[in-house]
C-alpha cells in the first residue's frame, strides 16, 4: 500500500510566531545552540491498495496544493513510499 507524506512549511519570508515562541522556550531551557525554529505540518496519506506510486504522488501533490497548503504563506513537499 503506497503511503504519501506531505510536509507543509511556512515560506522563508513569512514570520512564524509559533516557531519563535518554541525557540524562545528552548532558550529558556538552556538549548542555546538552537539558532532558529520553524513550525510546520505533516500529513500521512494511506492510498488504497493497488494504487501505483506515480499515481499516489500525483494525487498527493494535487491534494497538497489544493487543500493542505495555502500558497500565499506556505510551500509543500511530497514523499511517496511504495
Amino acid at each position: 500500500m503506497a503511503k504519501a507524506r506531505v510536509y507543509v512549511t511556512l515560506k522563508k519570508s513569512v514570520f512564524d510566531p509559533q516557531g519563535k515562541t518554541i525557540h524562545d522556550a528552548l532558550g529558556t531551557l538552556g538549548y542555546s545552540s538552537v539558532a532558529d525554529v520553524r513550525q510546520g505540518k505533516f500529513f500521512e496519506l494511506d492510498l488504497a491498495p493497488g494504487v501505483p506510486a506515480a499515481e499516489a504522488r500525483r494525487t498527493a501533490e494535487e491534494i497538497a496544493e489544493k487543500v493542505l497548503s495555502n500558497p500565499v504563506i506556505e510551500s509543500f513537499r511530497v514523499e511517496v513510499e511504495a
Binding site: 511556512l10 514570520f15 510566531p17 515562541t21 487543500v67 495555502n70 500565499v72 504563506i73
Partner: protein, 231 residues
C-alpha cells in the same frame, strides 16, 4: 434590504448578525445553511464569525469547500455585496475572493478585546458615507488575525485603495502597539477589485448597540443598507 447569513458548522456570530440586521436595523434577515447550493432571495450575504469546521487544517480552509460557497462566489461575481466578518473574512481569503492569508497573532495569544480601526476608504459596500479617517471602536476575538501578503502585493493593494480598515490608536494613529495582532501594515480589512466583497477581523455585529459598549458597528450595516437602497 434582505441579508442572507451563511451558517457553517462552528459559526457562532450568525445569530448576532441576524439580530443586528433584523432587530437593530429593522431589515430582513435569513439564515442560509452551508449545505444549500443557492442563497435564495437575498440582496447581500454575510459570512459570520466563528470557527467553521473547527478551523482544522487552517482557518476557513475546509469551509471554502462547502456547497454554498459556489453560490457565494457567483453572487460576488455578479456584483452582489458580500461581507466576511472574522472567520468569514478568513473563509473568503481561502476561497480566493479576498487577498492575503492570516498567520497566528504575533504574540501567539487569542485576543479578545476592543480595538480602534480607521476607515481607509469610503468606496466599498460597507463604508459608503463614512468619511475616510473615521475611527471606529469594535471588538476583535481571534487567534489568527495577523494579515499577511508579500510586500509587492501589499504595494499593489494600497495602490488600488483596497485597504479598508487599519488598526490604530483611539486618535487614529498607526502604531506598533495598536497593531495588536502584528498584521502587515496594520491591515484589519480589505476589499476585492470590484469593491463589493469586504472582509474585516473586528466584529461590527458585536458593537451595534450602546449597551454593548460601542454602537460604531451599526454604521457598517447602515452603510450596506444605504448602498442597496441606491441600487
Amino acid at each position: 434590504m434582505k441579508v442572507g447569513v451563511v451558517v457553517f458548522p462552528g459559526s457562532n456570530c450568525d445569530h448576532d448578525t441576524y439580530h443586528v440586521v433584523k432587530h437593530v436595523l429593522g431589515h430582513e434577515a435569513s439564515f442560509v445553511w452551508h449545505k444549500d447550493s443557492t442563497l435564495g432571495d437575498v440582496d447581500a450575504v454575510v459570512l459570520p464569525g466563528g470557527f467553521a469546521y473547527g478551523d482544522y487544517l487552517r482557518t476557513g480552509a475546509v469551509a471554502r469547500f462547502s456547497p454554498i460557497m459556489r453560490a457565494v462566489t457567483e453572487f460576488a461575481a455578479r456584483g452582489g455585496p458580500v461581507l466576511g466578518i472574522c472567520n468569514g473574512f478568513q473563509i473568503l481569503q481561502e476561497a480566493g475572493l479576498l487577498p492575503g492569508a492570516m498567520l497566528r497573532n504575533k504574540n501567539v495569544q487569542f485576543l479578545s478585546m476592543p480595538v480602534h480601526v480607521r476607515v481607509e476608504t469610503s468606496d466599498t459596500i460597507v463604508t459608503g458615507g463614512i468619511p475616510k479617517g473615521t475611527v471606529l471602536t469594535m471588538p476583535i476575538a481571534h487567534g489568527e488575525g495577523n494579515f499577511y501578503l508579500p510586500d509587492r502585493d501589499l504595494d499593489r493593494l494600497e495602490g488600488e485603495g483596497r485597504v479598508v480598515f487599519r488598526y490604530v490608536t483611539a486618535d487614529g494613529q498607526v502604531t506598533e502597539e495598536a497593531n495588536v495582532n502584528g498584521s502587515s501594515r496594520a491591515i484589519a480589512g480589505v476589499c476585492n477589485g470590484k469593491r463589493n466583497v469586504v472582509g474585516l477581523m473586528p466584529h461590527p455585529e458585536r458593537a451595534a448597540e450602546p449597551e454593548l459598549g460601542s454602537a460604531d458597528g451599526r454604521r457598517i450595516f447602515e452603510a450596506l443598507a444605504a448602498v442597496l437602497q441606491r441600487a
